[in-house]
Symmetry: C2
Subunit: 586 residues, 2 copies
């Protein structure tokens, strides 16, 4: 993955503006606009292979490859390149430094055409909307009319969201990583304290320090140190530094320590001063802090109403700056809007920085989402039996139905049902990331989640059918799950192993042991089946819950079982049960 | 709880020092020592009712009651007073401002006897050890020879730990809340950035600002703002502020915002400057940061070897500054040392500040630990049956055995076993806080925890018996739990419901439903019993795991069951099984 040797160069685009310049959302305007950008790969003739990458707070246009005479790759080089997660043999990738930045695109340190000297305090207030508008102008400048995808993490993820609703007709796929529809109070607090450090640095000079021969270095370093704490998870901090001390010889200044974490913070604070501009930091964090889709549109649901792209929302497990709940909020707001959206939670120890570090994990999700390719069909006796059960479920589902599959596994059943249905949306929910990635590779919309927590993110009557196939016995709260199923749909299909099959009864009565069979293949001490029931038990619960069993299909793989079912003894004959249920009218 | 009207006054004690003053751990010395303190209640003649309260970073001696002409109660007034968690009708409570502070006890702003002017940069480096030594000197000054208890949270909890090992003969009980044996890397990082803010404030003047007419107000406020973020949980931040904005009329300074969290941070930053001294902040955080029992003693185990007090370690669920894992580390190090130690995790949304805010929760644990009082014995048919089972377990346990009870519930079995055993220590583990508090009220040592995570904190062969009574069927990993039992003890006692009892077989075979009975009283869909087994299944697993069943007691409440057991059909007759197991020799 690391042997990309693609040489790239940051280009400068001088964007044509109307005579009165670029109008900004907060009322300011810019007479000139330069955008620094890089591209990788080739735009095809159909103009349908362009992917825009949006960078985070301190990033720049140099996202992949190498600059001449430099050994430092772009900031996401592991993700982007020939054969990589975003394959530049296939896609035309664009990344541009954002408006307000200090890496080539117009920002507070750029010359103000009015005076020829840096804008400084005269640089107008910007928003995420302005940042995305400028990216849009760049694409027009480059002749790119559609985007196959937009992708970004953190502040870059906010830009992705803004793209999805600002230019919905232009974007096919969006990947929003470790981000949110607004910062939460804690993240705001850190930004507030970081800005305060710059503002209270006497060398900031109200923003006009460029000609003074000094910089608000102390304040900017202080802000960056706070930032660096928030980018790492506490676990990562602990494994990376713990309480280790450096054995540097130079004497300590009073109240400084030898803790390695102190050297790390000091080093990163100082290094940031060399490569970043304090005013850019103020303007960009201000834009990020004031980004609030809920406030702007009244609700997240209203915000996402115009979205037309297929969305993938990725959260990072140990990220506490943009915690997973916030990604989930975005994903569920899209879901409530009936949009095509998938959500997954990558398990990573690296905290917020995982979107830059845990590339192997990210690549799986990004690649399968961008280029779905269903896995080959397995051939085995087991698979044949499972296929037969799936066929029975398909027969129970009316055509053109909207389907939710709880515990969807690798998505095979949902893919088959989706194929036979013109309606949208379908959704799969599964607790396991590998299953989510497998389902993404089938082009399905899937949510990673634990159905034992309920289906709170799904409004009433959103689907025609909810499928719960061989799953009710593994959940902690079967009753809650059933209830939720018939809240979000009028009909459900439940399949489960029947504990009172003849074989199971014999095992208990004559062998004196918990049954182990094809349908219950686990030993008692390591079975995932923690809430087993008989057909009669299930029927009792349905009665109790006001659930009607509309159709009952009792299955057995042995002739004796089938015979008993035919004799009218399904609770004795069935190895497993498949039934369609619905709510009784109140 | 809030109507305490006790009037108190902060006293100043001028401590008698040897002619060359007070020697400090880092080599410095102090020619004079004044300690500010308050007391509540009356020291009894036996001198066995004194409790020392240790305050946190910015606290002071005024812990309870009111000062004359003030309506502001002491900082822990809800906890301390007549009839409260720490009952001043019973206990003599002492709280003193710590060394290095700025609330009356000698610190950097105190006059240096050498010059008559504030110490400033001349104030020597202090440690937690020095802080505790000064408290010890105060107690001697007050004629207090023993402590019934020492209690404190956060930095106060570190003082409690230091007391337990520095003056082990003097302390009977220690309560350490939301604390640690050292700060973790993340907490260090926040302190480092906070100090950096003060050190880089030009008005700090190397520490000698007292006579300059100005203060390092910006730096101290900045440090305090960072601190305030870390004291609250992100959830609490969200519910308290979210993204709410104030509608104040005054114009905003550039890059300031109207977010309420900004007003809160600014307000608290400014307010802190009025009530706290920057040099005290530097000295005390330096002492806290350098506190490291592992580094000092080679290991936590070695550190706690001298402890003689009964210890209660309390963690707070949403505390991310002193996260629960760190309290658990302290507790397990004490446990490995064979000390009497209890650990509990209070569920609170308030973050680190919960030790000041969630008093109702804390009171339960503190009160029962300080004044155990076993609950009255219940009288019921059920209780009689359970008492009979407990009597059978008691008969299986050799006298003077060390006992670990997994899933100990309210501790009744363990209390009975402990009564009949002279040996120590016994320990109960339970997942539920109410059970932990109930067990504390019996004077037992208990750990709150989930045995499905294993017993990693317990060394091999620490106990003679491990009890797993009616618990194996509710754990997620019965095999792991069994394995762990016989790692930490040579013998175990397991009791569980027998799924293949006659009644259960009949229920399944003739009723076609999952059994519900006295021993299995739950419906399939809401039973906590997720890993059911028959006697034979259990025997099979023991064989597989190299476990010998030394003694088997098959129980039934009905004559038919008892008859079947007598006939040599225990797997059919027993409703429940009670057995003593041991490791097969390799």
């Amino acid at each position: 993955m690391k042997n990309s040797v693609e040489l790239v160069k940051t280009q400068l685009a001088r964007i044509d503006l109307p005579p009165n310049g670029l109008k900004l959302e907060k009322g300011g305007q810019l007479a000139e606009l330069v955008v620094a950008y890089e591209t990788y790969g080739v735009l095809n003739n159909q103009h349908n292979n362009a992917i825009l990458v949006c960078h985070a707070l301190s990033g720049d246009a140099h996202v992949a490859g190498f600059h001449e005479n430099s050994t430092k790759p772009g900031w996401w080089d592991e993700m982007i390149g020939p054969g990589k997660g975003i394959d530049t043999d296939r896609f035309f990738v664009i990344c541009a430094n954002i408006l307000g930045g200090c890496k080539g695109t117009t920002g507070p340190s750029s010359p103000d055409p009015a005076s020829g000297r840096p804008y400084g305090s005269k640089f107008p207030q910007i928003t995420l909307g302005d940042i995305v508008d400028v990216q849009h102008l760049l694409l027009r400048h480059l002749g790119v009319k559609r985007l196959y995808g937009v992708i970004g993490g953190s502040l870059g993820g906010m830009q992705v969201l803004e793209w999805s609703l600002r230019f919905p007709e232009m974007v096919d796929r969006c990947i929003c990583i470790a981000s949110a529809a607004s910062l939460n109070a804690q993240a705001l607090a850190f930004d507030i304290v970081g800005r305060e450090a710059i503002l209270s640095d006497p060398q900031w000079e109200g923003g006009d320090y460029y000609d003074t021969g000094h910089l608000p270095a102390m304040g900017l370093a202080q802000a960056r140190m706070i930032g660096h704490i928030t980018y790492l998870s506490p676990q990562k901090m602990e494994t990376k530094f713990g309480r280790e001390k450096s054995d540097a010889a130079e004497p300590l200044k009073k109240f400084n320590t030898r803790f390695q974490v102190e050297s790390y913070l000091h080093y990163n604070g100082r290094a940031f001063v060399d490569r970043f501009d304090a005013n850019s930091y103020l303007h960009i964090t201000e834009a990020m802090d004031s980004y609030d889709l809920e406030e702007r549109f009244g609700s997240l649901d209203a915000a996402f109403a115009p979205v037309r792209a297929k969305m993938l929302i990725i959260a990072l497990s140990s990220d506490w700056l943009f915690p997973p709940e916030q990604s989930l909020e975005v994903a569920t707001a899209l879901l409530r809007n009936g949009k095509q959206v998938s959500y997954c939670l990558l398990d990573s120890p690296h905290g917020h920085d995982a979107f830059l570090l845990d590339i192997a994990h990210l690549t799986d999700a990004v690649q399968t989402f961008l280029c779905p390719a269903p896995p080959p069909v397995a051939v085995s006796a087991e698979e044949t039996a499972r296929a037969a059960d799936r066929a029975r479920i398909r027969r129970m589902v009316a055509p053109k139905a909207r389907i939710l599959d709880l515990g969807c596994g690798d998505g095979q059943l949902l893919a088959e049902l989706a194929d036979s249905s013109a309606a949208r949306p379908h959704l799969g929910i599964d607790i396991d990331l590998d299953n989510i990635v497998a389902a993404l590779s089938r082009g399905l919309d899937v949510f990673q989640g634990d159905i034992d927590n309920g289906l709170g993110m799904i409004p009433d009557d959103s689907y025609d059918y909810v499928i719960l196939s061989q799953t009710i016995q593994v959940v902690r709260k079967p009753r809650l799950v059933l209830k939720e199923m018939l809240r979000v749909a009028r009909a459900g299909i439940v399949t489960f192993p029947n504990f009172s099959s003849l074989g199971n009864r014999l095992s208990l009565s004559f062998n004196g042991r918990m049954p182990i069979s094809d349908t219950l293949p686990y030993a008692w001490y390591d079975t995932p089946n923690i809430h087993l029931a008989t057909l009669k038990d299930f029927q009792d619960l349905c009665r109790l819950e006001g659930i009607r069993i509309e159709e009952l299909d009792c299955l057995s793989d042995c002739p004796l079982g089938l015979g008993l079912i035919k004799l009218g003894l399904p609770n004795l004959g069935a190895d497993r049960v498949l039934c369609r249920i619905s709510r009784l009218q109140p």
